[in-house]
C-alpha cells in the first residue's frame, strides 16, 4: 500500500494515442477511466487498465472543457458557447444549454458537491447552472473582458473567475456579490507594438484545504505572433489575497503558457506548459519558485490528478506528418494528441522470470 505521492519518481504507466488534438482531460471520480475531448468535437472515455476507448457524446465544434461529476454524470462545453450534461452510457445529452454564452466558453468549473456548474466566456459574464437539469441559477457580472478560467473554493461557498486582463474575481455564491479582486498583472503582457494583449489567467486551482489559490498563464510575452514568454503561475494566500510565490518552468525552451494547474494532497503544485518545440509537467514544493521535478514531452493543454493522488494524466500534443510553414512532405493530415498516464511513485520492479532449471 503506497501512502504518499512522490512526483520525483514519476514514471509513465501507459499512453493512449488519438488522431486529433486533445484539448482537455479529466479522471473519472473512480480513477478507473480518463475522459478527454478536443478538436474532433467528441468526448471520449479511455479505460485506464485496458485502454478501451468509447465515445461519450459530441458537440458541434471543439470541446473546450469537461467535468466528470458524481453519479456517473459528465458535463462538457465547447468553443461556440454550448454546454451539455451527460448520463454516462446514454448517447444523447441529458440536457443542452444552447449558446450558454456568446462566443467561446473556456471557464468551466464544477462545485465540490457536484450540484452547480460555473461557466465563463468571451462575453465577460459568469453564469451558474444547476447540474441536475441545466437550469440557470445566477449571473455574476464584473469582468471587463474575456473570462478564461474558474474554480470553486473547496468550501463550496466561493467561486473565483480569471480573465484576459489578469484579474481574478472572488464571488460569494449565496449572494452573487463580488467580494474582492485579486490581481495577477504578470499574466498579461501589454505592449504598444502588439496588436493585442497576450496572456490572461488561463487556469485556476485551489489546494485541497482551500488555503492557497494558483493562477497560471504566460508572463513576459515578446510578441503577439509566436507569443513566446515564460509559462508561470502565481500562488496566492486565500485568506489575505497576497501573492506568495511566482513559479516558472525550468526549461527556457518551453516558451508558451502554463495551461493548467493542480495541487497534490501534500501541497505540491503541478503545472503543465506548452511551447513551440516542447512542453512539460512540472512540480513545485510550497514556497519554491523552481520546480523540483519535471516530466518533459510535447506541449500540454491540461493535466489532471487521479482522485487517489497517486497518478496524473496529461493531454499532450502529438505531431503527425510534417509541420511548419507550407505543405511539407507526405500526406497533409491534422496533428494528433496523446493521453499519457504517470504514476507518482516508484516504478515497481518488473517481476523476475523464473529461473530455468538445469537438466542433469
Amino acid at each position: 500500500m503506497r501512502s504518499a505521492a512522490d512526483p520525483s519518481k514519476a514514471w509513465e504507466i501507459k499512453s493512449f494515442k488519438h488522431d486529433r488534438i486533445l484539448s482537455t482531460c479529466k479522471f473519472d471520480p473512480s480513477g478507473e477511466a480518463l475522459f478527454a475531448g478536443g478538436f474532433d468535437g467528441r468526448i471520449y472515455r479511455w479505460a485506464t487498465e485496458t485502454g478501451e476507448r468509447s465515445v461519450v457524446g459530441s458537440h458541434v465544434t471543439w470541446i473546450s472543457a469537461i467535468q466528470p461529476g458524481p453519479a456517473k454524470r459528465l458535463y462538457s462545453a465547447d468553443y461556440q458557447g454550448n454546454v451539455k450534461g451527460w448520463e454516462l452510457g446514454t448517447p444523447e445529452a441529458a440536457w443542452t444549454i444552447e449558446r450558454a454564452h456568446q462566443g467561446w466558453l473556456k471557464a468551466f468549473a464544477l462545485s465540490p458537491d457536484g450540484s452547480l456548474l460555473a461557466t465563463g466566456a468571451r462575453d465577460g459574464v459568469v453564469r451558474i447552472w444547476r447540474t441536475a437539469d441545466g437550469a440557470p441559477v445566477k449571473e455574476l457580472k464584473g469582468h471587463a473582458r474575456d473570462i478564461y478560467s474558474a474554480a470553486f473554493h473547496p468550501d463550496g461557498r466561493s467561486l473565483v473567475s480569471g480573465d484576459y486582463d489578469g484579474k481574478i474575481l472572488h464571488w460569494d455564491l449565496a449572494s452573487g456579490t463580488l467580494v474582492r479582486t485579486l490581481d495577477a498583472p504578470g499574466l498579461v503582457t501589454r505592449d504598444p507594438d502588439f496588436l493585442c494583449d497576450v496572456g490572461g489567467v488561463r487556469a485556476l486551482a485551489f489546494d485541497g484545504k482551500g488555503g492557497r489559490l494558483a493562477a497560471s498563464g504566460l508572463r513576459d510575452a515578446k510578441s503577439n505572433t509566436f507569443c513566446p514568454g515564460a509559462p508561470s503561475a502565481i500562488v496566492f494566500d486565500w485568506e489575505t489575497g497576497k501573492a506568495l510565490t511566482t513559479v516558472k518552468a525550468k526549461d527556457e525552451k518551453i516558451d508558451g503558457g502554463m495551461t493548467a494547474v493542480r495541487f497534490l494532497a501534500d501541497g505540491t503544485l503541478v503545472g503543465c506548459a506548452e511551447g513551440q518545440s516542447s512542453g512539460a509537467i512540472s512540480f513545485w514544493k510550497p514556497g519554491e519558485a523552481e520546480p523540483f521535478h519535471t516530466i518533459g514531452g510535447q506541449s500540454l493543454y491540461e493535466v489532471d490528478v487521479r482522485p487517489d493522488g497517486m497518478a496524473l494524466a496529461g493531454a499532450f500534443f502529438a505531431p503527425i506528418g510534417s509541420g511548419g510553414n507550407g505543405r511539407g512532405k507526405g500526406d497533409y493530415v491534422p496533428n494528433g494528441g496523446t493521453l499519457r498516464l504517470f504514476g507518482l511513485y516508484e516504478k515497481p520492479a518488473a517481476p523476475k522470470a523464473p529461473a530455468k532449471k538445469k537438466t542433469p
Binding site: 488534438i21 478538436f39 468535437g41 458541434v60 465544434t61 471543439w62 473546450s64 465547447d78 468553443y79 461556440q80 462566443g103 467561446w104 468571451r122 474575456d146 507594438d193 502588439f194 496588436l195 493585442c196 494583449d197 497576450v198 510578441s223 503577439n224 505572433t225 509566436f226 507569443c227 513566446p228 508558451g256 506548452e274 511551447g275 513551440q276 518545440s277 512542453g279 510535447q298 506541449s299 500534443f317 505531431p319 506528418g321 509541420g323 511548419g324 510553414n325 507550407g326 505543405r327 497533409y332 493530415v333 491534422p334 496533428n335
Partner: protein
C-alpha cells in the same frame, strides 16, 4: 462599366512600344493612358495585413472540417455566401465586395514573400520592380490635388520610402505617415517667406549636386521634400477636430481603425494610392484567441470604410484591395497556431471596376488546396490595373532601352471579379 483606356484607339502593341523606346530610365509608354484616366479620378486603397490573416477565420471558413477551427460560419448579405463569425460587420457588406478564395502564391517565408507579393511577382528582367503604389503613381495621372501620389499609413515612424519605387526611381516612392500623423514639419507651422527661401537654396544645391551624377538619388530627395511641402499646405487633412465622435467610434480607436479613417480622408482629398499597413498578423501561436482580438480590428473599420465610400460615391472611382502576404496553414501546430500558407488563401476587392457581391475560386473541403480557378499575385496586379483603367498588355515601362511589362505577361486579370 467603361474604362478610360478601353477603346481600340488607345491600344498600343508591344511591337509599337518597342519602337517608341526612349533612353530615359523609368519612363512610361502610352502617356495618353494617364491623360484619359484623369477624368475618371481612379484611386486605389490597399490594406496590407502584414503576416497573414487566416483565410479559415475570415473569408473561407470550413467549420466542422479537419482543419476548420472552432468558429462558426455566418451568412453574409449575399445569399449562399458565408464568412467567419469573426467578421460580423463585414458579412453585412459582402454585397459590395468581390472575394477571391483561390489565391495560390509561391513563397512561404516573409523575407522573400513580402517584396515579391508587393511587386507583383514579376518575371526576372534584371531590375527591381516597383511596389503597387509606386506603379500606380507612375501609371496614373497624379491629378490636381497637389498631394503626394503614394501615401503609406503605418505604425511606427514616418519617412520617405524611395525603395518602394524600384527601377522607377525615388520620386515614385512612398511618403510614409507613421501612425497616420503628418510629417513633423507641418505640425508646428513655418514662416512662408522663410520656407520659400530655404527651398530655393535646397533646389539650387540639388541642381549643383546633380551635375555629373545619376538622377535617382536627387529625385528621391526632391520627391521627399516636395511631398512634405504639399502636405504643409494641407494641414486640415490631419485636423482631428474635424472628425466626428461617431466616425471615430465606427472605425475604432485602435491603430488600424484610425489609419483606415485617415486613409479615407486622404482619398477624399485626392491622393492617388493609399496603402494602410498593419503589422503582426502572423499568428504562429494562439491563433484562435489572437484572431478573436485581431479580426474586429479589421472587420468593423473595413465595414465603416465600405459604407463611407459607398455613401460618398467613392466606390465608383476607388479600388479597394484587402490582402496579406499569404494565408495560414490549415494544420494547427503545437501552440494552436497556424503557420504560413501560400497554397490556398483569400483576399477581397471592392470599388471601381470591380463586380459587387461575387465570390470566385474555391478550395477543397478541408481548405488545404485550391480546387477551382487558382490565382497568383500577378493576376491581382492585372486586375487592379484593369480596374483603374490601365491595360497591362498594352502599357509598358521603359527602362534603359527595355520595354518592361507592368504585370506578368503570362497572367491576366481575374475576369470573374472585373465589372
Amino acid at each position: 462599366m467603361s474604362y478610360a483606356c478601353g477603346g481600340h484607339d488607345h491600344a498600343i502593341s508591344r511591337r509599337h512600344a518597342l519602337g517608341l523606346l526612349a533612353g530615359a530610365a523609368g519612363g512610361l509608354l502610352a502617356p495618353n493612358v494617364a491623360r484619359a484616366l484623369r477624368s475618371k479620378q481612379r484611386q486605389v486603397l490597399m490594406i496590407w495585413l502584414d503576416g497573414g490573416m487566416s483565410q479559415l477565420e475570415s473569408w473561407d471558413p470550413k467549420p466542422g472540417g479537419d482543419f476548420g477551427g472552432p468558429f462558426r460560419a455566418i451568412p453574409s448579405s449575399v445569399p449562399g455566401v458565408h464568412v467567419s463569425e469573426l467578421l460580423p460587420f463585414t458579412a453585412k457588406r459582402v454585397h459590395q465586395l468581390a472575394i477571391v478564395r483561390s489565391m495560390q502564391t509561391k513563397d512561404n517565408s516573409h523575407s522573400v514573400g513580402v517584396g515579391r507579393i508587393q511587386r507583383g511577382d514579376p518575371v526576372n528582367r534584371g531590375v527591381e520592380y516597383p511596389y503597387m503604389g509606386s506603379a500606380i503613381a507612375k501609371l496614373l495621372d497624379k491629378g490636381d490635388s497637389g498631394l503626394p501620389p503614394y501615401v503609406l499609413i503605418k505604425p511606427g515612424s514616418s519617412g520617405f520610402l524611395a525603395s518602394d519605387a524600384g527601377f522607377l526611381g525615388g520620386r515614385y516612392g512612398a511618403l510614409a505617415l507613421g501612425d497616420g500623423r503628418p510629417p513633423v514639419h507641418i505640425q508646428g507651422g513655418v514662416d512662408a517667406e522663410l520656407e520659400d527661401a530655404r527651398q530655393a537654396l535646397r533646389r539650387s544645391a540639388d541642381a549643383r549636386y546633380r551635375q555629373g551624377r545619376g538622377d535617382a538619388d536627387v529625385d528621391a530627395w526632391e520627391g521627399c521634400y516636395d511631398s512634405a511641402l504639399k502636405l504643409m499646405r494641407r494641414k486640415e487633412l490631419f485636423d482631428e477636430t474635424t472628425v466626428t465622435r461617431s466616425e471615430r467610434e465606427r472605425y475604432g480607436s485602435h491603430p488600424l481603425g484610425r489609419h483606415l479613417l485617415q486613409a479615407r480622408r486622404l482619398l477624399e482629398a485626392g491622393v492617388l494610392f493609399v496603402k494602410v499597413s498593419s503589422y503582426h498578423w502572423d499568428t504562429h501561436a494562439d491563433n484562435f484567441a489572437m484572431h478573436q482580438e485581431l479580426m474586429p480590428q479589421i472587420d468593423r473599420p473595413f465595414a465603416a470604410l465600405i459604407d463611407d465610400l459607398e455613401q460618398r460615391g467613392m466606390l465608383d472611382h476607388v479600388v479597394v484591395l484587402l490582402m496579406s502576404e499569404f494565408g495560414r496553414t490549415p494544420k494547427i501546430n503545437q501552440r494552436w497556431g497556424r503557420d504560413h500558407w501560400p497554397e490556398a488563401w483569400s483576399l477581397a476587392l471592392a470599388g471601381a471596376g470591380i463586380k459587387r457581391g461575387v465570390v470566385t475560386g474555391k478550395t477543397t473541403p478541408d481548405g488545404s488546396a485550391v480546387a477551382e480557378n487558382p490565382y497568383d499575385i500577378g493576376h491581382v496586379f492585372h486586375t487592379v490595373f484593369r480596374a483603374v483603367g490601365i491595360k497591362p498588355e498594352e502599357t509598358f515601362y521603359k527602362h534603359n532601352g527595355q520595354a518592361l511589362a507592368i504585370a506578368r505577361d503570362d497572367m491576366g486579370p481575374i475576369q470573374e471579379v472585373l465589372a
